[in-house]
Symmetry: C2
Subunit: 292 residues, 2 copies
Amino acid sequence: MMTRSELTALIRRKKSFLCVGLDPDMERIPECIRKNSNDPLFDFNRRIIDATIGKAVAFKPNIAFYEMHGSKGWESLEKTMAYIAGHRAGPVFSIADAKRADIGNSSAAYARTFLESMPFDAVTVSPYMGHDSVRPFLSYQGKWAVILALTSNLGAADFQILSADGDEAVQADYPNAENKLYEVVMKKCMDWGSPDNMMFVVGATKAGMLGSVRQLVPDHFFLIPGVGAQGGDLPAIASVAMNNEVGILVNSSRGILYASSGDDFDNKAGEEAARLQEEMEAILGRQFSWAG
Amino acid sequence: MMTRSELTALIRRKKSFLCVGLDPDMERIPECIRKNSNDPLFDFNRRIIDATIGKAVAFKPNIAFYEMHGSKGWESLEKTMAYIAGHRAGPVFSIADAKRADIGNSSAAYARTFLESMPFDAVTVSPYMGHDSVRPFLSYQGKWAVILALTSNLGAADFQILSADGDEAVQADYPNAENKLYEVVMKKCMDWGSPDNMMFVVGATKAGMLGSVRQLVPDHFFLIPGVGAQGGDLPAIASVAMNNEVGILVNSSRGILYASSGDDFDNKAGEEAARLQEEMEAILGRQFSWAG
């Protein structure tokens, strides 16, 4: 578990809001690991974690890349989480990028999976099924639901940016919103959780939208994917998305994990994480006296 | 894999459109199993499958109940699927009730998990992230994406039934729809898949809505949860939701699994499945000459 003030303190101490996505793709894991390891997912992660934990405040395994390998992949995930939880350079925030949600009793089972059985601090949650599918993830002290609001993929345009009228009570509270579906999602979710147990995924490929989202949602943390491989621009994004407690985590996955396909992959991953952290430190220095 | 005509033939042969939800909740699994088995999830499922496969056309494990037990739970799921795939009373349709979806490469990993690594015929998919999150589930010959449209839980009212305007091209094609979000979801998804590789989840607690959904979506199979524990009424539901090829699967989970908490749980589950099958046979007999 990690409270909002603890996470903010970690960001201030490391002068970083970097989240490293742990998405180990067997086809891109360097040959030196694939050939010599009994558990390539874990051994790849272990070296990535060691190389980047000094520069990152969060790790985010995408569960798809583990689940693809069945029970053996789940063992790799469990070992990865135990390794993070016991790391001497910790504590560090951890997010299960699972995009789960179901009817109440099934959502409760998913929440237990990640927040109780495994030592994750947070889970990403799909909002489509509404309040009783989201609430089970909000009932753990010091743990978090990270709600998908505006995602970074092309398909975000299919439903998330449709005008979603029809909820006058909500509109009355937020007269300035345009009532795109992703805005209605955020507004309703703010009634179910607080800035202390709920974050939002807001895609970085839409820097223009990020600023208006921050006006609508001043206090909640945003998890911002899509920097690097998905094309977001860090200074532009951070300047519009930060709040006065920083309030953002920016994720990079492939740009760090696959910086090199050779035996030096962990050194190169560490260099890429350091490069991003330096960029973040400069951004923070322009905005906050404690980072100057 | 099972094609639409094969699934329809199975429904006609068994005079049943029953889907049995395999949601093994450790707190409700009978003591005789919990105390004497090294793998209670699998042993519970095995006896439920044996007792109900004669009356059911589909099984639907909800992945939350396995994932909750980590890698060991995944082993139970893998054994359950191998047991179903090799059952002498098969073939039977199988649905991974996983409610997955992510950006393209992660969705592709989820699709591989269930449709390639495990022998599922179908996966339930959450539509919020749009076309590139749904498409990977549609690329397997004779396999299916089952899209969440209108779910059976209370939270369905939060977003799914909002008026979602703003897509005039879609509206022009379907002038009679009310443009609730779940309708827009179905209309767009029909452009991405066909009745041969896509079904929709349409909750049974809204029998009134089911009829108008069927008018909008004449050919696709509906997976209808919520009969039994969630309160739906089978004849009312079936009469409005069926199409001229039947075109529905009705799920029952808790009503069958936990019909008895004693050692006779499998017999009682079989009796409940038989009762539902008889009710379905009567419904089919009123509508189709082949079932009379």
